[in-house]
Each structure stands twice: as C-alpha cells, then as structure tokens.
Symmetry: C2
Subunit: 205 residues, 2 copies
Amino acid sequence: MEKVDGRLVRGDQTRRAVLRRAVDIASVDGLEGLSIGRLASELGISKSGLFAHFGSKEELQLATIRAARRIYADAVVTPAYEVEPGLGRLFALSESWLEYSRSRVFPGGCFFQKVSHEYAARGGAVQEALAGAHQEWMGLIENVVREAVERGEVDVDPAQLAFDLNAYYEAANLASILHNDEAPYEQARQSIRARLESARVGKSR
Amino acid sequence: MEKVDGRLVRGDQTRRAVLRRAVDIASVDGLEGLSIGRLASELGISKSGLFAHFGSKEELQLATIRAARRIYADAVVTPAYEVEPGLGRLFALSESWLEYSRSRVFPGGCFFQKVSHEYAARGGAVQEALAGAHQEWMGLIENVVREAVERGEVDVDPAQLAFDLNAYYEAANLASILHNDEAPYEQARQSIRARLESARVGKSR
DNA sequence: AAACAATACGAACGGTCGTATTATTAGTTT
DNA sequence: AAACTAATAATACGACCGTTCGTATTGTTT
C-alpha cells in the first residue's frame, strides 16, 4: 500500500525523488552509469535503503524508463495535443520536440535516444522496454500525420513522413549535444519546414 | 620502434589484434563497457600485458576510435570515391553507408553513432575526438554534395542536404538495431531517393 | 656470447559495483 | 502506551574495475 487517503506515504516520496534524479543521471551517463551507490550518495540516503525500493538494478532501470516516459509525455506530447489535429498539430509536435531537446529537459539531451543506443544491441528487459517506447513514439507521430492526411492537408505515407521527421529530431539532438551548439535545431527546423511543405496537397508542381 | 624493414614486430601485431576486438566490443557495449580485463581474457592474453600497450584506459579508448575510423573509411568512404563525383557518388555514399550498417561491419551497428551518444554529454578527450569525427564526416558528405552542385546536377545548400542524409542514415541504424529488423533501411532508401529527387535541377515544378 | 630493449606475465593494490542479511527507526493501528 | 508494519540504515560479501609493480621471456644489436 503506497497511498493512504490519497496522501503519499514516506516511501513513495523517496521513490519519486530517486527517479527524478535517476533520469537526469541516466541521460548523461546512461542506465549503466546510473549506479545505486552514486545515486544514493547524491540524494543523501543510504545505498541499501534505496536498493530496497527496487530490489534489483534492472528494476531501477525499468522504473527510470517509466519515469522518463512520463516527463517526455508532459514535455512533448501534451503541448502538441492542445493544438487542433492536422498540420498544425504536426508542426506543434515538431516544435515541442526540438524545444524539449534544446532546453535540456534532461541534462544529457533526449533520454530515450541516449539509452536506446546504449541498450539497442544487448537484449533483455531494458532493451525490450526501449524498443516498445520507440514503437509507441513512432506510432504517435504516424497518428498525428494521419490526422493531417484525413483532413486533406497532406498527401503522404504516414510511416514515411514519421520516419523523416523523427530522423531530423534525433540528428539535431545528437549534433547539438556533441558540439554544444544550438545551430542544429535551426537546421532541423529548416528540414521539417521543407519536408512538410513538400507533403502539402495543392503544392506548386 | 614498431617496424623493422617494414616488417611488423611482435608488439604491433598484438596491438592490432586488441584494437580489432576492441571496436567490436565497443560497438555493442560502449567504450565504457570495453573493460581491459574482459578484452584481455577474450584474447587470451594477460590484463597487464594488454594495459602496457596503452598506458591508460582513455588511451585505449582513443586508439579504438582511431581504429574504428580506419574501418569506417574502408567500408563507407572508399567505395563511394570509386564512383565519379556528382550525384552518382552521393548515391553511392548513401548506399555504402546503409550497407555498412546493415551488414554489421561492427556487430552493434554504427560504431560512431553508438559511442558518440555515450560520450556526447560528458566532456574530455574522448568526447572531443568523437566531436571531431562527426565534424569530419559531415564535412565529407558536404563535399560530395558540393561536387554534385558544381556539376549542376543539384541545387541545394550542401550543409542542409548533408544534415538530412545523415539523419536518415542514423535513424535507420538505430531502428534496425533496436528492433532487429532490416525494414528501416528500405525506409531510409525511400527518404534518400525522394530527397535527392527534390534537389535535382530541372525537376518538375 | 654479452648487453640491451621490447614485450608479456602474475600478483596485488584500493575502489566501486550489485546484492544479501540484519538491525534500527518512524508511522499507523489498536 | 503497546503492537505492528513500512521504511531506512548499517554492515558485509564476492566480483570486477583500472592501475602499479617486479619479474620473466623474447628478440635484436653489439
């Protein structure tokens, strides 16, 4: 039991604090570099006490992924879904993604891109969770594209446009972190604009 | 002295064998997961003997990056430069990149994408070497694009087209490894075709 | 054959890792 | 206030980390 009368008990507060710090560490040093001892000492709690919350390193990693997903949804998805469906929402999604990366919602840039590369070739529960998150995210872009197609604003294969847009996002994120430079976001914006323009129906041809 | 009459002495052979294995390990488990003890035991040599070749873990990592660069150049760049400059070479570069990733020249997919994400947000000599490699690679694509521009085959901003193409490569690489699926390469090919087609001069408009 | 590097080895160092066991504290319920 | 439970802490373990050291082996040069 973690809740009493809707009020959080002690243990759940700790869990939240742990995971908030964990996603930040992992976005810089990865889910492997996320060590229990370091996490505990940074939070000023005991290693064993922290460990007891999760039972294993892998469970901590999976919980960290779920926590990152919530933050990601709040920063990227929610703002876009406040815009009406169609091309406008697709633009909004692109803008909120770039802003999510640029503003370093996670200090190491996009959490999922970082740890997905870390575990992509490894197998196991963590890899599977990340593969699932990737699929979920690509599906979400496709759905937003499809809304624009259904409204007759664009004429494209949703999966193909989703692939391109996601590619621009990721390329900008990596280049920006690697060179500590914001210019790649402007390049990505240019690519997005051009790509969406070329997808519009009734475009000059 | 490492060479005598152009013949390799013992130590250099070991170094080569170490680095050949190191790039493979790092492409799966990263430059941090590349541990000296593991590397030595996989090669059947002593940990201290291996260590003596590099003097520090960081030097081993930097040497591994240089070794990966040579393999990358052989697999991706050299084949493309056997094609005449212009749009043909740009296509060839794209094809050889996708084939480099698909055929798992490194078992974990693109070495540089993997370790660049690992060290992008960390600073230090390794991060700087990887930032340099990224810049060198983007510059190479731009030059190939520029050759096509100078021949009047396309009309684009070389940096912008290089950004897009590289984005397609990387997105395909990650998706393929994460889902153990070759379909992303076909998606990337489609994106590349469309993007190059839209850049051609004398295109229908 | 003697001298000299280059190369490789085994053993050990202090640290940190994830994990298990046991004890102590704090909060809630009776 | 006593009993009970959930949460945190203390301590310890074996494994592995990068690194250092002294020594043996090998190959080349004199």
